[in-house]
Amino acid sequence: MKVKDTAKVISQSVLAEGVYSLIIETKAANYAVPGQFVSLYCQDHSRLLPRPISICEIDKDVSTLRLVYRVAGKGTDEFSKLTSGDTIEILGPLGNGFPLEGGKPMVVGGGIGVPPMLQLTKELEGSVTAVMGYRNDDMFLTEEFVDNAAELVIATDDGSVGTCGTVVDAIIENNIEADVIYACGPKPMLRALAQYAAEHDIKCYVSMEERMACGVGACLGCVCQSTDVDDHSHVHNKRVCADGPVFLSTEVEL
């Protein structure tokens, strides 16, 4: 179930340069699963469209969601000023989320694609290998992955920590095996992973990004090209907000 809610800000903190961790109390938390996202709305009424942000952690006991985001423009800048006691309009949870499959899972996050993998890691059964890519040693959420994953492997663009290179480089270097890959990150990363998965015959789920307006599947703003005909318009356009954001890597054009 989706709700439009006035969420209460419980706390906010800085995890790395420009990366914030926001904990909000909202009934949306009660319905959320890993891989889903919420739409955040700006207070400033000159900015109308939602800012979709993935769910990083869910605590149903206290109805809170943790959202981790990078300041990328005016909307996220506005959010970065929220403090405990403030409120924020949200819509969620939105999208399909990651399916929890059997077998040995590997979760892969790149940059601001790292956060959504945390709740997934916590919910997956079996020993999870987490492969996380950062720009440099200004990392975030690594402790949480150490606590929740069986293994944490790191790649950095500048080689300051872990493998110097991409997450795929790190997977190869560390010879990581898996039956299923879950991934979120920039498109080139997803593309490389999809190719790696295809070559190694591993099932691979990717979380996609697109500009959104409604967030609920009505406006057809956020489509991505799909290999099969989609259910909605019977063309080759799946809606990231409603049919995704999580797709099989073979389902979509990357």
Binding site: K4, H45, R211, A218
Partner: protein, 302 residues
């Protein structure tokens, strides 16, 4: 208190509709809005065959508004009738207006013919401001002669009353309104989106893959009010007003300017219950102002 309005013989329980293309056929908003409480559901534009629409990015935010270049993606009339019309069957209180698009006059007529036997369809809204129409090109909605022609032809085939949806990207909106009225339109709706553009200064490229997009949202409201006012004073057919309506004040303003009913578009995206919130606000206004019949405010400000 009466909130009922009648357009071309079709009675609506209230004057609040949602605008085509912003609400699908209502399915996705059913979680937030009891569709049975709306004046009408106006469906996303439907063509005779599935359309894939434009490449992404298709939407962009602008100050107090947005641009869209969806390009009329739709599943085509067959799926639409089977799935969307069937879904709408259950909402007996709400009128159904089907928005029709096409690349050519023939394609419009195919859809209109196909809908002729569908009882669930109360009215047709003919979108003559499609960005990419072939025959007559953008001239369909920007040239009064072409608009006349489309209206006349559609009227020959239509079994339901016909609303012609006008584009604001014209020098004189009343000329367009008069043309479609003369050709037999039963009502007009306005405004469709205003063509705009956004460039990303960092990437030095267009934000939309399509370069231009249609602007909607609060930013366009004053233009919409002006055009509704002008048309209300130029033609006799009823007007469905839209463009940037987000609050009951905006809706009342549009009716005072001359609209018999109003549609809510972009506002749904940031307030899924915008339509019903507006309806409630309008009722409060009627009580406060001692307005017995909502029809009495239509075109009140002259």
């Amino acid at each position: 208190m009466n909130t009922k309005v009648t357009i071309a013989g079709v009675e609506f329980q209230n004057p609040i509709m949602e605008a085509s293309g912003t609400f699908g056929s209502g399915m996705e908003y059913g979680e937030f809005v009891d569709l049975n409480k709306l004046g009408a559901v106006v469906t996303k534009g439907v063509a005779d065959k599935p359309w894939p629409g434009n490449p992404t990015p298709r939407v962009a935010e602008v100050k107090c508004g947005m641009l869209n270049a969806i390009g009329l993606q739709n599943p085509g009339i067959d799926v639409f009738v089977e799935r969307d019309l069937a879904f709408l069957e259950q909402y007996k209180n709400t009128r159904v207006i089907v928005n029709v698009c096409g690349h050519s006059l023939e394609e419009y007529i195919n859809v209109v013919d196909r809908l002729a036997g569908e009882n669930r369809v109360d009215m047709l809204e003919i979108n003559i401001s499609c960005p990419n129409v072939k025959e007559g090109g953008i001239a369909f909605g920007q040239d009064p002669k072409m608009a006349y022609l489309v209206t006349e032809e559609v009227k020959k085939h239509a079994k339901q009353p016909v609303i012609m949806k006008l584009s604001p990207n014209v020098t004189d909106i009343t000329e367009m309104a008069k043309a479609v009225e003369a050709a037999g339109a039963d009502a007009i709706s306005l405004i469709n989106t205003l063509t705009g553009m956004k460039i990303d200064v960092e990437r030095q490229s267009f934000v939309l893959a399509n370069k231009t997009g249609g602007m909607s949202g609060p930013a366009v409201h004053p233009i919409a009010v002006r055009m509704v006012y002008q048309c209300a004073n130029a033609v006799k057919v009823p007007i469905i007003g839209m463009g940037g309506i987000e609050t009951w004040e905006d809706a009342v303003e549009m009716m005072l300017a001359g609209a018999t009913a109003v549609s809510v578009g972009t506002a749904n995206f940031y307030n899924p219950t915008a339509t019903l919130d507006i309806l409630e606000g309008m009722k409060d206004y009627m009580i406060r102002k001692n307005i017995e019949d909502i029809n009495s405010i239509v075109g009140l400000v002259k």
